[in-house]
Amino acid sequence: MNAIELRDVSLTLAGRLVLSDISLEIAAGQFVGVLGPNGSGKTTLMRAILGLVPPSRGAIRVLGQAATRGNPSVGYLPQAASAVPQATRLSGWDFVASVASGHRLGLPILGRAARAEAERALDLVGARKLARRPLADISGGERQRLLLAQALIGRPQLLLLDEPLISLDPRHQQEVVGLVKELQVELGITVLFSAHEINPLLGAIDQVLYLGRGQAALGTIDEVITRPVLSRLYGSDIDVIRLRGRIFVMAGGYDVERDAHRHEAGSPHEHGSHGAHADHV
């Protein structure tokens, strides 16, 4: 069975055509890296798979059914940081457990099954102890673990992770990618993992879904991260340079993936990762 099927799908966001006439199939059990410049539709595609953005054309099937909101088999890690105000001392446990049967009416007091589900999710990401601490006191990498635990509640077959590496330093990036890979293999699930840059995902992903200028390319790294495919997606002449096991996507001397990264957020972590990056080269 395919985890995701897109048939002639077009997606529009606020009147702008984000994806145009895309057809593709992602087999179950794949770890897919979703890449592409800012605004190329990575988030919109995920929201469409969740049933939050109806396609303007075509049909999306998820795990054999039409994409609908509230599908319990789909887990989601949204890109924006959580809405919890910094001033509260709310614990990670309450944050994660709020997802367990969170859609049902009633008091937020967990039954035994919901508690067990939240504990299982925390154990899967190794955050049982971490969850006792207030959210305000934990680091970015630890926060991603909790968000991942939230996504795992309800035992999803398909995990959509929207930019979980954003504002993490390289060491924490590797930690998150390694953890997701472990979970994907252990649970036998399908993962879509969006990122600005291919390098942290090398060695973990089975396939790449590269988006750009309304188009999409799906395949192995060797099939997709190539000069002709990326030149088409970026609409300009792209060079793909491989150096010591790393891949650089360059346009006219600029590293376009890095560049997109830099525009996104100017956090200290980001600059740290640039420094480390330079050392590698």
Partner: protein, 267 residues
């Protein structure tokens, strides 16, 4: 002090309102919507003065106006964020309209002061029962929606994906806040609603890390501040709203001490 009827009524009314305000306020602070409570109170002033003018008890004008405004704000949702100029003007105009309505009414000064700053010592027994009824409705509604509301507050995008309607719960919650605001205005007046709705809840969130204990502490603090304020007012003859607000501020400042101490220590 309990030999006086007005003191017994005041304590009964304050008990009801403090429990409701502390509980609803916890979610208000958690959602970062404290400004909504303030705004609804201002709009309520227009409703209260308008109903005095046409001869209806001001509490009902307050309830009607805050409910309408709360539901309206909920429907506007995200669009309301970062419209501070528009909101500020609407609030100013609400107070001005209220002033105009009072201008047409003869017993101007006392009514205005009571509405703006509250007078819990003037509450009669029928009002206590009305407050009890409204409070029961608020808490019952909150109890029914609290689980999805919490989910939608802590992780809105995931909640939306799981089929929780952010708008539905946003509207329902602001309707509950509107009712609670109208109740609070009876005790501390429309200008000091923050004292009961936000102060205890914000203090409780500094001190607790779990939602149920946070809600309980918030309601307890609100109760302590309301009772303490009325007691101090009785013995000092200063306004009860002043004392309730003063206690609210003091408790919040005390609650931030542990965090300040932690920030002081070298990490």
């Amino acid at each position: 002090m309990f030999e006086y009827d007005f003191m017994r009524n005041a304590f009964a009314a304050a008990t009801v309102v403090a429990l409701v305000a502390g509980t609803v306020g916890y979610f208000l602070v958690l959602r970062g919507q404290t400004f909504a409570g303030h705004a609804l109170a201002h709009v309520g002033f227009t409703g209260a003065t308008g109903s005095i003018l046409v001869g209806i008890p001001p509490l009902w004008g307050l309830v009607a106006m805050t409910m309408a405004a709360g539901i309206g704000m909920g429907l506007m949702g995200e669009r309301l964020v970062q419209r501070d100029v528009a909101i500020g003007l609407v609030l100013a105009f609400s107070l001005a309209l209220g002033l105009l309505f009072l201008h047409f009414y003869t017993a101007f000064a006392t009514q205005a002061t009571t509405l703006l700053f509250g007078n819990v010592l003037a509450v009669d027994i029928p009002t206590v029962f009305t407050l009890l009824g409204l409070g029961a409705v608020s808490l019952a509604m909150l109890a029914i929606i609290s689980r999805p509301l919490l989910f939608a507050s802590l992780q809105p995008q995931l909640a939306e994906a799981k089929g929780v309607s952010l708008q539905l719960y946003g509207v329902l919650f602001l309707a509950i806040v509107a009712l609670t605001t109208a109740e609070c205005a009876q005790i501390v007046g429309v200008l000091l609603v923050f004292a009961l709705m936000v102060g205890p809840a914000a203090a409780a969130q500094q001190l607790t890390s779990a939602v149920p204990t946070g809600v309980l502490l918030s309601a307890s603090l609100a109760l302590f501040e309301a009772w303490g304020g009325i007691t101090l007012a009785f013995y000092t003859d200063w306004p009860s709203s002043f004392w309730i607000t003063a206690l609210s501020v003091a408790v919040y400042l005390l609650a931030t001490v542990p965090r300040r101490l932690r920030a002081w220590q070298p990490a």
